[in-house]
Amino acid sequence: MQEEKDFIEELLNPKTQNIAFQKLMREYQRPLYNHIRNIVLNHDDTDDVLQNTFIKVFQYLNGFKGDSKLFSWMYRIATNEAITFINNKAKRNGTTSEAMQTKIVENLKADVYFDGNDIQIKLQKSIALLPEKQQLVFKMKYFEELKYEEISEILGTSVGGLKASYHHAVKKIEEYMNTN
């Protein structure tokens, strides 16, 4: 914890800021990329959202209180950015974000940066039908293999609530996989 405090100080000190921020990016770019990609699904959009996420992190650093960990704070910014992005994209196309997601999943086969087989596509299709919160919890638990405690800090939901969401999500996904 002390180590994180020192690191945050380095991030805030104009003299050490640039080097510290580059270190922060090196550490978080891959996990945050995966997190955002799981929400927005295609690479180019992920690239945009990831850049915006780090720019926001940089801008908000001064206001970072240290009440939560740097880790969960950054995941929270990335999650908000990604969800806002999907909602805006849906609005631009005059559709709902649920419909938008289904459409993106249907286009996955043509995506050069997706090499999933039929079962992977089917899994993505079944996830796209879940309510937003269940989608998030499922992706973070199943694909990103985050701990419930970590997800709880990021999303601000109790561990019990998260377990229930995950359980519901798995049930619906299995149902979809068995009937379609």
């Binding site: 640039n18 990016m25 990329y33 690479h43 990831l50 992977q120």
Partner: protein, 140 residues
């Protein structure tokens, strides 16, 4: 595929791939977009503003005092000055911006300007002919 159980299956990966070398240049891309704090630049003007204003004030005073003394005699001169001269003076010496002038104009003034500004076709042709960009605009 019946009785699909997520836990019984081997882990299904998301299937998303990342372009090669994507992360090699990523941090640089972000660093270039970060807002930088601009160093505060104090211009020569800001630094010397107080002096310039003082000198200007003294100048104005020293010029207006003798002028005030002669006020009586100059008023009659102004009255007889040709309107044209006043116009010319205003056109070349007054520091009115276009916006300020526009504010002062009423509808009748504008109508009059429109009439006096009607374009002479010959003059227009000549202007286009002399403008070296015309050819570029026509051919593109």
């Amino acid at each position: 595929m019946n009785n699909f159980k997520l836990d019984n299956e081997p882990k299904i990966k998301s299937g998303f791939q990342i372009p090669d070398n994507y992360f090699d240049t990523f941090s640089e891309k972000v660093m270039n977009q970060l807002p930088t704090e601009e160093p505060k630049i104090i211009s020569l003007w800001d630094r010397n503003k107080r002096w310039v204003y003082s000198v200007a004030a003294i100048l104005v005073l020293s010029l207006t005092i003798p002028l005030a003394n002669q006020f009586q005699s100059t008023t009659t001169e102004i009255a007889t000055t040709e309107t044209n001269e006043i116009e010319n003076y205003l056109a070349y010496h007054a520091s009115l911006s276009d916006e300020e002038i526009i504010k002062l104009l009423d509808k009748e003034d504008i109508a009059e300007i429109e009439i006096t500004n009607s374009l002479d076709e010959e003059a227009l042709k000549q202007a286009l002919y002399e403008d070296s960009n015309t050819e570029y605009y026509i051919t593109n």
